[in-house]
Symmetry: D2
Subunit: 344 residues, 4 copies
Amino acid sequence: MPGLVRICLVGAGRVAKVHAHSLVRHVPQGELVAIVDTSPETLQDTADTFSIDSRFVSLEQALESAQFDAVVITTPTFTHKDLAVTAAHSGKHILLEKPMALNLEGCDDIIAAAKDSGVLLQLAFMRRFDPEFQAAAERIEAGEIGKPMMIKSLTHGPGLPPAWARDLETSNGNLAEVNSHDWDCIRWLMFDNYQRIYVEAANFKGQARGVDTENFYDTALASIRFENGGLGSISSVCPCDYGYDARAEIIGEKGIMQIGQMGGQAVVVCTDRDQGLITPIYRTWPKRFEWAYIREMEHFVECIASEREPKVGGEDGRWAVAGVLAATASFLEERPVLMKEVMS
Amino acid sequence: MPGLVRICLVGAGRVAKVHAHSLVRHVPQGELVAIVDTSPETLQDTADTFSIDSRFVSLEQALESAQFDAVVITTPTFTHKDLAVTAAHSGKHILLEKPMALNLEGCDDIIAAAKDSGVLLQLAFMRRFDPEFQAAAERIEAGEIGKPMMIKSLTHGPGLPPAWARDLETSNGNLAEVNSHDWDCIRWLMFDNYQRIYVEAANFKGQARGVDTENFYDTALASIRFENGGLGSISSVCPCDYGYDARAEIIGEKGIMQIGQMGGQAVVVCTDRDQGLITPIYRTWPKRFEWAYIREMEHFVECIASEREPKVGGEDGRWAVAGVLAATASFLEERPVLMKEVMS
Amino acid sequence: MPGLVRICLVGAGRVAKVHAHSLVRHVPQGELVAIVDTSPETLQDTADTFSIDSRFVSLEQALESAQFDAVVITTPTFTHKDLAVTAAHSGKHILLEKPMALNLEGCDDIIAAAKDSGVLLQLAFMRRFDPEFQAAAERIEAGEIGKPMMIKSLTHGPGLPPAWARDLETSNGNLAEVNSHDWDCIRWLMFDNYQRIYVEAANFKGQARGVDTENFYDTALASIRFENGGLGSISSVCPCDYGYDARAEIIGEKGIMQIGQMGGQAVVVCTDRDQGLITPIYRTWPKRFEWAYIREMEHFVECIASEREPKVGGEDGRWAVAGVLAATASFLEERPVLMKEVMS
Amino acid sequence: MPGLVRICLVGAGRVAKVHAHSLVRHVPQGELVAIVDTSPETLQDTADTFSIDSRFVSLEQALESAQFDAVVITTPTFTHKDLAVTAAHSGKHILLEKPMALNLEGCDDIIAAAKDSGVLLQLAFMRRFDPEFQAAAERIEAGEIGKPMMIKSLTHGPGLPPAWARDLETSNGNLAEVNSHDWDCIRWLMFDNYQRIYVEAANFKGQARGVDTENFYDTALASIRFENGGLGSISSVCPCDYGYDARAEIIGEKGIMQIGQMGGQAVVVCTDRDQGLITPIYRTWPKRFEWAYIREMEHFVECIASEREPKVGGEDGRWAVAGVLAATASFLEERPVLMKEVMS
């Protein structure tokens, strides 16, 4: 057996714990060897949970003191570029959380650094590894529903995002933080790139929850035209409160396909005929995408071990960022925006 | 256009109202012309609802004073035989509610009277006219799931039946009053007759609801062997409180078929992620079998108008009664009972 | 009992047969007394089906020779205005199929004629009478999901519409002919009017089916902003080939509601584990909205009998037409269009 | 960290591979160290798949030559007793596949050996660890549906079992080999033991598949009375061909609960309106119970590491065997059989 792939987590928050769990419990070829976080509390909490002794407050420190092959970057979006470039220049393979960066320059820098350093760069679009989304993609590619004409993708998240993630300056807002997965999915499942984007956005819940960030929105609907004439939409609601909801519907020339459902567990109960049947809903994204996170980490570790290119990389991350930039320009300027305006 | 088929309701209670509604609103070839009930209040209530002036306290009175072609008998089971025989002898076609009679002698008398008088006799097994059950029967007959090997049928009703309907002396209890439809369905969908029956029964809720009838049961499970070796079960729960539940599942040599579902209306709501999705359940049998009741009445009226034999008749009613008799003997004697023991 | 409401069908095509069936079989208070169609074959076919002797090739002829209280207008859109105005001026109540008219002037003329003549004008938005949509509307109004933030409505129809119905000159195309119901539904269920509309449209199947009409589209996605800030979308695919699909999803401040489903009959079969479970889909709109059509006609007849205003009328029809006009301008001019631009 | 729990697989067939996969990929606290099988081909295949060098043709050999803490026994039923007793006497903890043994004496010997040797004995009823079944059990225990009155459990398996597993002499047939899980489930979910059992069985497919084993059945329905008066049924069909189907339905005094569903993946497709919607079905038990197998192995390893008693053990295995013995007597003797007749 070749040696284990040694991994350092950069960022120790909520999604970092999900990745750590995958690594430690379900990906025996990988080894979690170090954790970085600027917050001592977060660092201690996650490192204690997974019994990791190598703890650092900066990536630089970790690079100096610990031996590892790869990083998993889960810090806030505005830090991605510097961390990913640093990791790449130190020869570390990178699993980078979405959104890739705040802007296309950031994406380009990361892609260039990875390429120059010869390290692998995988974007954390875990839906690519979800058994349902993956089966759907294969069936579309096999022609089951014919050429895709229209795709509707939605992600609605239950709770209010942290302050940095709802500010256009530090994150590009919900369409980036919550819906990066949809931007990636629609390109993936339509086998095509976006050409034009129009967005309507609204703020229903902000005031009641004390959010006064400029241009904050909790509800948005993006309308997309693809290069080959296909249509698409992305629905964004966060906080939606009612659960974690991630679904897609594709209409092809031969038929329709629905991916995902709200119901999360086949335990149906009725105790009141005036109320009706009750089925559990997916409450959280780690539960909805439990297998996707495991398979994603397996893929990253296997790609490193076998020196293969990950199947979702920098260009995919860059397209999702570009989509968000066009989308943001659209609702701010109240007009459709062409991708070539932002990707020039 | 030929004249309308004139109908007299015998019995004016709950199911009578359902039949009256079908007749008055949805079966233009039929005409509700008279109503009979021994209870003045019930009579007035139903007759007022449908604006019928011809009201009688006995079938004999109605036969003497009103002109009609047919009767719909919805009175308690123990009255069926005398009323049906009287109607037949007066030349009236008969739509007879289930169960057909208390015993096989009653069934035989009704069948003979109808035959001797040349009147049509239709049993009110409305599931035969339900679009779902009917489509299922046709698809089974067409061989879609192969030769049926096993059928499971269930009817669970929400509320405690009236006193006469839970007493073995006056009704044969729930397996007759609630589950007559299942007894008919399993013969219909298996294309075979029962040969042997075994029943377990239990009384969970009786005491708390003040029922002290001997041999009362609210929960029963019948196990059936068919003549050609197929197996079946009937599940009976009444009062089940949670809704009106009528479903069947058939396993054939080539596959499985499920008929019916608990969910009654495709309006799904989630407002609490700790609770989950809520779908309305069928609350009542008139709602679950809304079209079945209309189609059943259409069939009765059309058969009379065109002098055709109804597709569900006396023999079907007799088999259901025989099944109940064997079932009752089984749980009282704690042994499997052969149909030939009760049908001799 | 007051006299029956006598009705003349103007237009004898497919939807006319649906209305005739409702009238003749399920609405005893109404009476189908005459039928008008300019095509002798269509006229004969429908009149024979329902055994109607009073047959006319024009509304004028019918008005001259037959006695009736109301008309049901189901002719092509471009004829609506003249027929409705003529009917109104002759004192006939009107049930008018969607779309109301080709333009707002047409709508205004109809509304004025009905008002001036004191006749009732009901628009044939049958989803308002569908048990599911209706229950949903009541539950939203009762506050169950909180203030609606976003609605997505879709209608996908199986077959290629007739030539006049896919030409913007004679019909305004699919967004009018197929999706008028969605335009009405989203106003109804959001309890708000549209303010701004943006549409992307595409033509995937036209060429292969020999359609060379200018500006033909078979796939469209409308993005809607409501006056109070809510968002909406309408999805249009016709011909979609896979079935008749009509659903809506509403996200409110407190939760989500889904109305309708693709599955059309609860008979589920599996005979091949490599294929999976098969559930019937709704194949046609008359089947999907069977009760809705009956309830719609009941409402029309009851409103006439009781001299009440129908609950969906000229203003609703006019808003749907206005939405379509803004939508068409949007995709032709590739920009969002404000309602005030078209409703001046 | 304490040392890993070292495990030897005894039996290297299909279910052994599932357990090996769990161990090697998803249970880092456990270590697969040796494999035993009497068939050289099976041994080589499985050992190669998991890169295990320690390979033995008998448990005795393995005990002599390899170091391990526990065994996972997955050999045919008739070998269970000797292997389990040998393992226990050698101080090895035991995860024992169902059915526990051919008869109660076998069960008693195993229980006694484990107790005498102080080793842990876990029965491989993996449904106890399935997230859906487990959540259901907790919700029933919490009183959500009230006191359980009736449970229906079914397991239908796709393919013809091997010869030894359909012979009453070597396995007790399908009710043991396929339905052991149901026997365990109904006790677990009813919080009660069986008192009386009645079974109907049939052989529909045997002849066509060349099975001439005496008393072979492919379809059976067990009717169960519990000690406290609850009712139950177990449905057995194997080979059912249409998929792997495992579901349960419990009616309690307050309501109904359904556990499991046929649909296996939320990817719904429709490409033909005459056929309808297609949803994947669970094809195999390893897929249906993917998490259950992982959680079961985790539990076994954790119990060993922490010296805790497994939550499903010898007594549970013994009850399931007793149920099967009463069931077999019932259909052979065509009468209900009391548990006390077989458990004396």
